[in-house]
């Protein structure tokens, strides 16, 4: 009893999921671990944290203004939290002060848990200050923005990371970071804000780059398997586009109709 028009959706979601899970399984059993190319932005993360430690200035991180149950950017937020775990570990290791600015209340408990864990794993639990290392600013986009840029100015941050679903505040955060001289790495799946990051930040993980980086940086090698799954899904899409376009030039609209079913 599939709804008409959603058949293609069900097939595609199921098919892609099976491919990804199959490769995830292969990778977790160490049968096949794909080689993933590194995005320059990923390398820049540890470079920026190291630079901040050298300068003795803090590192700031924003996991975006989209909530955990956002209907469009939930994946974005989840990826940002995974990257936060990596940045927090790097920052604690290098000894630089970490400041995480939070807008959506739902992300706050997760971010607190992640950062607290990162500190205690390095045996520096006492350096984690409740309410201060992970700072809640405001659930309101502009309340958050004003606090975050105020913080960047006052703390003179040396490295700034903006990941996750940012909206119209993206350029304001990024440009303020540039003004205070921070090295910035950003990423988002909000296609309207990506250009802002590309223009104002040193490195930008464009769209899927950020989602793949979350898997790449994970200590668990099996996760790279899904990245290869993503590749296969994309190559299928390329195939559909090329074949579909050629067929429709010949007047056959079968691919289009299949997708519309």
């Amino acid at each position: 009893m599939l709804i008409a028009g959603k058949v293609s959706w069900a097939l595609m979601t199921l098919g892609f999921s099976l491919i990804m899970l199959a490769i995830l399984y292969l990778a977790s059993r160490k049968i096949y671990i794909p080689q993933i190319r590194e995005h320059p932005g990923v390398h820049a993360i540890s470079e920026a944290v190291g630079r901040a430690a050298e300068m003795g200035r803090p590192v700031s991180f924003s996991p975006g203004t989209s909530s955990l149950y956002d209907t469009k950017y939930a994946g974005d937020t989840a990826a940002a939290l995974t990257l936060l775990s990596y940045v927090a570990k790097e920052a604690v290791k290098s000894g630089s002060k970490l400041i995480v600015g939070i807008a959506p209340p739902t992300v706050l408990p997760v971010a607190q848990a992640i950062v607290r864990t990162a500190y205690s794993l390095e045996g520096k639990a006492e350096e984690y200050v409740e309410g201060d290392t992970v700072r809640f600013y405001s659930p309101d986009q502009w309340g958050f923005t004003s606090s975050y840029i105020g913080m960047m100015h006052r703390e003179r941050v040396a490295a700034n990371f903006l990941f996750g679903g940012h909206a119209a505040e993206a350029l304001i955060l990024a440009e303020t970071g540039a003004t205070v001289g921070a090295m910035q790495v950003a990423g988002s799946t909000n296609v309207y804000q990506l250009p802002m990051f590309v223009v104002a930040c040193d490195y930008t993980l464009i769209g899927e780059d950020q989602l793949a980086a979350a898997a790449y940086l994970s200590p668990d090698p099996a996760q790279k398997g899904t990245v290869f799954g993503q590749d296969i899904a994309k190559i299928i899409c390329v195939g559909l586009i090329v074949i579909g376009a050629l067929l429709s030039t010949a007047g056959i609209k079968i691919v289009y109709q299949l997708l519309a079913s």
Binding site: Q35, Y69, S146, I149, P195, V242, A245
Partner: protein, 232 residues
């Protein structure tokens, strides 16, 4: 003539607008006042909203559920419990309880995102790319979209096998970024023009030169200060 309440509101809002814009010069007490005011106000506003939300979305449903024996209504006790569970993350012994609440929110968000993004982004965009190749522009679109998609291939061997296409795809993406960047300018300018228009009303606009004078005075004093430092 305006009534005093409107006049006061206008003067406060103008002062706040100017205070916020001083960040373009440098971080300063005026900006800080605006910043802390807006955080306090928005968090207070959100707390009130959240209280009403819990009351209307959960508490009332439980009440009417108990009255009518509707199980779906009574079940709204569960999210309220899960909400309380979130606070256990401050107690290291019971931290695992908070994970249950987080799991619920994350599941809803991820599932909703997946269903929307596969339907609109993937299927919708592939459909859009299937137009017949009737002209040079259509052929260029096809090559462009294929190259840009191949840029997002991460596996080393597959990426190498695609030859120069991912590199071309990177240029296509940069072109897109430039175009979308410039295309937002007009909307952003409209907003700042709207704000400026609201500043240029009668009693409010006198505050603009005052703000400029303060900034100039500050810049002058700081300049002098830095010079004497050098001399000393």
């Amino acid at each position: 003539m305006m009534d005093p309440a409107t006049m006061l509101s206008l003067l406060i809002s103008t002062t706040l607008i100017l205070a916020i814009y001083t960040i373009l010069y440098r971080e300063n007490p005026a900006f800080r006042i605006g910043e802390h005011l807006v955080v306090g106000a928005t968090v207070g506003h959100a707390v009130v909203l959240a209280v009403f939300q819990i009351r209307d979305l959960a508490w009332r449903k439980v009440e009417s559920g108990i009255a009518t024996g509707n199980i779906a209504g009574i079940a709204y006790i569960i999210p309220m419990l899960l909400g309380v569970f979130l606070y256990f993350q401050f107690a290291s012994k019971y931290r695992f309880l908070a994970r249950v609440s987080i799991a619920l929110m994350l599941a809803v968000g991820l599932a909703l995102s997946i269903r929307g993004l596969i339907f609109v982004n993937v299927i919708g965009q592939i459909q859009g790319a299937l137009a017949p190749l009737t002209g040079i522009d259509r052929i260029a679109y096809l090559i462009g979209v294929v190259c840009a998609l191949l840029y997002f291939v991460y596996e080393r061997r597959a990426s190498r096998a695609a030859g120069p296409l991912p590199k071309i795809g990177r240029y296509v993406l940069m072109l897109t970024m430039g175009a979308y960047f410039a295309n937002t300018i007009m909307g952003r300018l409209s907003i700042v023009i709207g704000t400026l228009t609201s500043l240029f009303v009668d009693p409010a606009w006198y505050l603009i030169p005052v703000a400029f004078l303060i900034i100039c005075a500050d810049a002058f004093i700081r300049r002098k200060g830095s010079k004497s430092e050098k001399a000393g």
